[in-house]
């Protein structure tokens, strides 16, 4: 009981001291969704914020090969080659994130959207090494996309450094599934209002929408025919399907219900704009 008083009194004096973080105008969103309309592209960096925030992933379209110093492991030596975003090497990243107040969530395109492999050339160069000392790809920490571990005898250090310095030793191939910033957005509320006018849906004080399922089905399909622009997609039935899937059904009472949170959504109907990230692609002779 006394614990609650401590918390309560701390809260009371807190409220005056704490400046409120600005909150998005919209109500609670069901999940973290990307707001493609606010995509920022600059010098091989692509930033896509989450809805209502300045936080989100930063992707890079250009990478540079950066080897570490040499570690001595007995008589062997080890170098790790990192693929670093060129924007970081060129010192463009820090000004970019500061200029736009970007909170980078440190998302890597690997392994979800692609992979790295050693080049055939580096594998050939070190093919004489024992099996557990062969060139191996390692997972890396953001912003490094991936790393290559190289073990070699001390006599080979100059050759390996020279090799790394003059050509790619890693092949990176990733495709991040982004959407066009101009992807249309489905306004759920506009459709709900149109159906309310048609007498199909009612809205409660708490913002919950309900109606008979069959009436909803019939009138909403008619709406795709009379006012297709409400469903924003080229074939309005695609937008219609996404809209209908927001409802919860009571199969017995044959009623459909949409929560207040879902009803306030503005859903992206994605026009794909995949982000291709490549490094070290071997040129076929």
């Amino acid at each position: 009981m006394s614990a609650y008083r401590i918390l309560a009194s701390a809260l009371v004096c807190l409220c005056s001291a704490v400046a409120l973080v600005s909150q998005p105008a919209s109500a609670a969103t069901p999940g973290l969704t990307l707001d493609y309309a606010r995509t920022l592209e600059q010098s091989s960096m692509v930033f896509v914020p989450y809805e209502g925030q300045n936080r989100g992933p930063v992707y890079y379209t250009q990478y540079t090969q950066v080897p570490t110093g040499t570690s001595s492991v007995g008589t062997l030596r080890r170098i790790i080659v990192n693929l670093r975003p060129s924007a970081h090497i060129q010192e463009l990243y820090i000004p970019f994130v500061n200029q736009h107040g970007i909170i980078d969530v440190s998302a890597s395109p690997l392994p979800a959207h692609g992979e790295c492999q050693p080049t055939q050339g580096i594998k050939d160069l070190l093919s004489f090494m024992p099996a557990n000392y062969q060139p191996t790809i390692l997972t890396a920490g953001y912003p490094v996309a991936c790393s290559l571990s190289l073990y070699f005898p001390v006599e080979y250090e100059a050759a390996v450094r020279d090799y790394i310095g003059t050509r790619p030793v890693i092949v990176l191939d990733a495709t991040v599934p982004l959407c066009e910033p101009t992807s249309p957005r489905l306004s759920v509320n506009a459709i709900n209002e149109a159906l309310r006018t048609a007498g199909v849906l009612q809205v409660s004080q708490t913002g919950v929408w309900t109606g008979n399922y069959w009436d909803l089905l019939y009138e909403s399909v008619r709406l795709t025919q009379t006012r297709p622009q409400l469903f924003v997609t080229q074939d309005p039935r695609e937008g219609w399907q996404v809209y209908m899937q927001l409802f919860q059904l009571d199969a017995v009472a044959e009623t459909a219900t949409m929560s207040s949170a879902d009803a306030q959504q503005s859903i992206y109907m994605c026009i794909p704009k995949p982000l291709h990230i490549r490094f070290g692609q071997e040129v076929m002779p």
Binding site: Y213, Y218, Q248
Partner: protein
């Protein structure tokens, strides 16, 4: 007397006939089930469009009429509100 009785029966039949004919036409206009024995579901809009195509004239289309059609033809799918289960109930006599 026999003739009079037949006349009374004729007066009732058009509603049943129309309902049955509409039902048969709509069922024929729907995409078939994906596999034999699998539950027959179709996109909701396919049901409405089949209904619209099967009407004699667009003026007769109404939500109530569609509702009546669906009573013994389909039921909602709780997993996906954009699709309906077709209940191929034989007869459908009220």
């Amino acid at each position: 007397m026999v003739l009079v009785m037949t006349g009374c029966q004729d007066a009732r039949r058009p509603d049943d006939t129309r309902a049955k004919a509409l039902r048969t036409c709509v069922l024929a206009g729907l995409p078939p089930p994906t596999a034999p024995g699998a539950a027959w579901t179709v996109p909701g809009h396919a049901l409405v469009e089949a209904y619209q195509r099967c009407l004699e004239s667009p003026d007769t289309a109404s939500a109530e009429d569609f509702h009546a059609l669906c009573q013994d033809l389909a039921r909602p799918s709780s997993d996906d509100p954009s699709r309906v289960h077709i209940t191929d109930a034989p007869g459908g006599e009220p």
